[in-house]
Each structure stands twice: as C-alpha cells, then as structure tokens.
C-alpha cells in the first residue's frame, strides 16, 4: 500500500467528512454544499466586524462621549451665551438649541469618515480581510453590505450617545430630539457609502488628506451648522444644497426644534440623503468588485 512509503509521525489530523460527529454534518461533509442564504452571509460578515469591535470599543467609546461634551461646552455654552446675549439667539432659538442638532449631524459625518477611509483601506491593503472573505462562499456584495451594516451600527451608537449626553445638558427643547438619531444615521451613511467607493479607488491613503481638508472640514463650517447659510455669500449657498451635511443639519434641526431655515420640505432632504446612499452604493459595488476581483 502506498501509505507504507510515507513517513508518518505522531500527530492529529483533521478528519474528513466520513466520520460522524457534530462538527461534520451539513456544510462540512464532502460533496455539494447547501448554499448560504443572504442573511447567513451578511451575518457572517457582520460577525467579523463585531469581533473586531469587541476588541476596540473601549478606545472609541471614550471619544464618543468626549466629543459631544467638548462641543457642548465650547459652542453651546461658551459661544452660545455670547450669541444669545448679543443677538437674542438664532431665528427664535437659543444658540444651544440651534447648534446641538447640527452637531449631531456633523458628528455623524465624522464617525462615517473615520469608518470609511483608513479602516476600509486597511481591509483592502493591510490585513486583506476583504480578500480573505472572498476566498469563501461570500461575494463582494455581501462583504460590502455587511461592512456598511456595521457602519450603521457605529453611527447609531455614536449618535445615541451624543443625543443622550446633549439632552442631559439641556441641548434639546423636547422629545423631537429622538429623531436626531435616525437622521444622524442616514446623514452618516450619505457620507460613508460614497467614501467607501472613493477609498476603493485609492491605491494609497494620500487621497484622504484631500478629502478631509477640502471636503469634510469646509462642509462642517459651511452647511448651516454654526450659523444659517443665508449668512453666506449668495453664490456659496447652492453648494451647501448639494452636500449631504446641509440636508442632515436641516432635518435634524427641524425635527428637534421645529425651526428650519429654508422652505425645502423634509422629504426632499431625506430623498437627497438617500440618493447619496444609493448612488454611492452602486459606485461602491462597482469599485469594490474592480479592486477585489482581479
């Protein structure tokens, strides 16, 4: 027999499909395997990202609490008392109530950027986890969708914490504040999904500097966040309409305070945000496929 010529040593060997113990039934038996349902595939991907999160949440959670506190102290209370004293608030709101819903949307943008730039690049390039997933029955769409669901989770936690902390400091006039949570998630996604696509197209992380300096930072200042956009030169105002943050800010402020600065109805804001998600998603799937299936 052929095996006699082979040098055996002591040591275990993982057994194959013919033994019968719980480890080798169903999908671990040789032969054609039952395909995974979409839900199973997504759950497997999300399972990975949550395992990563379990290892890193302590670091991020401190930031999640600290950022709103800093903003509240500096903008709401510090700057706010000045604005309220000199100008009697903004558009009928105290400056604190004016600015807090906007900061919720802005923070969602920052969280989204954090989750969709260096993180995504890392899964492409550094630990190659996307590629590792695609060596299994998973497909590009599963990997992308599963990761984005994880981003939704991060956005929801971060926004909830922010809203909770801000509420403790009197940052909202009423229960409408709760609307800020879904608005924050959708606003964040309107950034995360297109930026996933952008990251997939980048070979190096140099492009992120451009993104942060020329897109994210200006948006934070000029999207009606800290002052209404009608304070801007007229030619600048349409630019705000084209960015997700302004729509998010308007929605959040409208929901939390009932005061809006433009006649645009809420559904238009929602539609604008969702189209960033939709178009971004289409692009991201294409660019992920191009990068990962080569």
């Amino acid at each position: 027999m052929r095996s006699a010529a082979i040098r055996p040593t002591d040591g275990p060997t993982p057994s194959t499909g013919h033994t019968s113990s719980t480890g080798r039934t169903g999908r671990s038996v040789h032969g054609i395997r039952e395909p995974l349902s979409p839900a199973e595939r997504i759950r497997a991907v999300v399972g990975y990202f949550l395992t990563v999160y379990r290892r890193t949440w302590r670091g991020s959670i401190i930031g999640r609490f600290a950022t709103p506190l800093f903003f509240l102290l500096a903008m709401g209370l510090g700057l706010g008392s000045l604005v309220d004293a000199k100008a009697g608030g903004v558009g009928g709101l105290s400056y604190l109530h004016f600015v807090v819903p906007a900061i919720v949307a802005t923070q969602a943008m920052w969280v989204a950027m954090g989750e969709s730039t260096y993180q995504v690049m890392g899964y492409f390039k550094w630990n190659k986890m996307y590629a590792a997933m695609l060596a299994t029955p998973l497909r590009v769409g599963d990997v992308l969708f599963g990761h984005l669901l994880t981003v939704v989770f991060h956005l929801a936690t971060a926004t909830t914490i922010f809203v909770g902390v801000a509420a403790l400091f009197g940052g909202f006039p009423g229960w409408g504040a709760l609307w800020c949570i879904p608005v924050g998630v959708v606003t964040g996604l309107a950034f995360a999904v297109p930026v996933f696509a952008y990251t997939a197209s980048q070979e190096t992380e140099d492009g992120f500097n451009v993104l942060f300096r020329l897109v994210v930072s200006p948006l934070m200042l000029f999207s009606g966040t800290f002052f209404p956009i009608d304070q801007l030169p007229v030619w600048l105002q349409p630019i705000a309409w084209a960015t997700p943050l302004w729509h998010g800010v308007e929605l959040a402020r409208g929901a939390a305070t009932g005061v809006v600065s433009s006649p645009v109805p809420a559904w238009v804001h929602v539609a604008a945000l969702l189209s960033f998600v939709g178009v971004g998603g289409w692009l991201a799937l294409r660019l992920f496929t191009r990068r990962l299936v080569a």
Partner: protein
C-alpha cells in the same frame, strides 16, 4: 459511487501501524527515496476535479498565464513548480475562484468558477501565498470567524477549530493575538484555516515558505495524511524537494507556460540523466573549463552555471574517474542523483532557485 468512495476513505484513514511509525525520524534523503517509491502514478480513473484548457490570465498587456492545459484528478497531489513570476499564484487564484480567467476554459468540480464561484469555493480550501490573517484578533478567533463564512454553525466551527489548532500545533497559543506569532506559526494558522470547511480540494500556494525544516517535514506529513483521507491537493512551490516529496504529478511552469508534465520520477527520467557530477573550479569564469570536461565517460551533457559545471551522466563515479585520469583537478567534485532542479535547468536553461 459515493458509497464506494466513502468506504475507501474509511479504510485509508486508519492510523498507520507502529512499525510504519518507526521511520518518522528519517531525514531528507530517505524521504525523497520514500516518495520515489510511493509516487509516480496518478490515481487512475478518478474523476477530474480541476480541468483547464487554454487557461489564460493577463494583467493589462502582460500575460501571466499563457494558455495552459491541466487536469487534476480526485485524490492526487498535483504540483506547480516554477520560479518567481512563472504564473503559479495567478493559476491558483483562478482555480480558487477568486480571480476570473481572461480566456480559456476552466472547470472546478465540473463547474465554471465564473458562474458558480460561491458553490466551488464552499468545497475547496484556499491557502493563499500571503497569510491574510487579522493579526489583532486571537488565533482561535481567526478560525471561528472563517468557519462562519462557510455557513458552519457556531458549534461546528468551534469543534473544527479545536481539531485544527491541534493539527497546526497552535493549541497552546489559541488565545493569543496573532501579531506576535512567528512567521511559521502564522503560516500554519493560515493552512489550518483553509481546512475549516473540511474541503475535498485543498489549494496550497507555497505552503512551506517561511517554515523551518522541522515544521516543513511535519507539514508534509500532515498533507500526506489529508491526501490519504481522500483530499485532493494542489501545491505550488519553488522547492524541488518539496515537489518531489509531495506530488504524484506536477507541471513545470515557466513564464506562464507549462514546460513539462509528469511524475517527479518521469520528469527526471525524461529530461535528465541518472546522476550529475558537480564540479567547482578555482576560477572567475567556469566557461573556461567547459572544454576540458566534454566527452567524459558516461556523460551526455554539460551545463554551465555561474558557480559550477554540471556534468550529466549515467555513471557519476565512472565520469569522475575519467576526469581524474585526464588530469583535470577541480576544487570540488560532487556526485549526486538528478533532481527536478536538473529537469528545470534542462527545460528552461535557468536554475530554479537563484
């Protein structure tokens, strides 16, 4: 058919007896001979798990795999041997269903990876050339996560992971982060991970690169065991001893093409002589000595390498005796058996590992 197969598997997976175990300590030379006795014949009549015809992969204008034909039968250990850039990994990635073929026909388990990628990937194990582990997670977390990608239940995954940790000799490191592990341990973890779904076809792209000699031998042994259990192996390597040791059949790949195909023994018999006399001279250029060693007794061919001359002969001792009789005095003379390295040199005019 499947019943018959299952019974064969059951018989062949019985632990080897104690007397066979005695040879475990045998070194390199013995193991090569052992395989020479064992290997050679591809399993006859088995169904074809992988077949490629005119398989081609281009990147931009560059052709990495240039119209190759291969057929791998169930139960065999098949090798791709070739130097850096030969196109081994590109071929493996196409077979693994992670990289689409540019042209040609490819069937894995009888299916086209372009249209049945997930179904194919569900049944095979893929150990890529780069480890692709999450080094921030623990050893066992890497296995657990991977099992879920195949739709295994949590219990199945955990049980399987425990076995595989034992297999990879990583049980005592299971709760440690991957990052500080040695390169060889990471490699073993990647190999273990590729077995999580109990694959019937295992693709190993340079499995032993980065392993120390002892770990290599242990791994070879583990791979033999998998093979005896009916797992089909496809291995790439640029170590000729590994190819000789592990592969029933192999192709020599060079610049995207297949230069030759056969069992290690066939290839050596076909493309080389029985023995080789290696001569080193005290010189800057060994070309100066080529004439002096032409036409020696028993010799059929002389190859010139930068640091030595190789004289291909059927009788190494007679050839070196003749050399001596001519009064040619090299710095060193070594008579050895032909290896796949010689086959490669003959086929391509280049050495395999430089």
């Amino acid at each position: 058919m499947s019943v018959a197969l299952a019974s064969i598997l059951r018989v062949s997976s019985v632990e080897p007896d104690q007397s066979a175990r005695g040879s475990a300590a045998a070194g390199d030379a013995a193991s090569v001979c052992g395989v020479a006795a064992a290997g050679g014949v591809a399993p006859a009549g088995g169904d074809v798990l992988v077949s490629a015809r005119g398989l081609t992969k281009t990147f931009g204008g560059f052709t990495a795999v240039d119209g190759i034909d291969v057929a791998v039968r169930r139960g065999e250990a098949f090798g791709f041997l070739g130097p850096n850039g030969a196109g081994k990994s590109s071929t493996m990635r196409m077979i693994a269903g992670v990289s689409p073929a540019t042209s040609g026909e490819l069937r894995v388990f009888g299916q086209d990876p372009a249209s049945h990628g997930p179904a194919i990937r569900a049944r095979l194990g893929n150990c890529p050339q780069a480890d692709m582990l999450d080094e921030e997670l623990t050893v066992q977390e890497n296995l657990w996560i991977y099992g879920r990608y195949f739709g295994l239940t949590k219990a199945q995954t955990r049980e399987r992971a425990t076995e595989l940790l034992e297999f990879a000799q990583l049980t005592d490191r299971r709760a440690d982060k991957v990052e500080p592990l040695s390169g060889g341990m990471k490699r073993r973890l990647t190999i273990a991970r590729s077995l999580i779904n109990n694959p019937e076809l295992l693709l190993l792209d340079e499995p032993t690169t980065g392993l120390d000699p002892q770990a290599r031998h242990i791994l070879w042994d583990r791979l033999f065991r998998l093979k005896r259990q009916g797992v089909t192996l496809i291995i790439t390597t640029h170590y000729m001893d590994e190819a000789e040791q592990l592969c029933d059949r192999l192709v020599v790949m060079d610049r995207g093409r297949i230069a030759a195909e056969g069992s290690p023994r066939d290839l050596i018999a076909r493309y080389s002589t029985r023995e080789v006399v290696e001569l080193r001279f005290d010189t800057d250029d060994h070309a100066d000595h080529v004439d002096a060693v032409q036409g020696l007794v028993g010799a059929s061919r002389v190859e010139l390498l930068p640091d030595r001359l190789l004289v291909y002969t059927d009788d190494g001792d007679a050839t070196s005796a003749d050399l001596h009789a001519r009064g040619v005095v090299p710095l060193s003379t070594l008579v050895r058996r032909s290896t796949l390295e010689d086959v490669f040199l003959h086929l391509t005019g280049r050495t395999l590992v430089d």
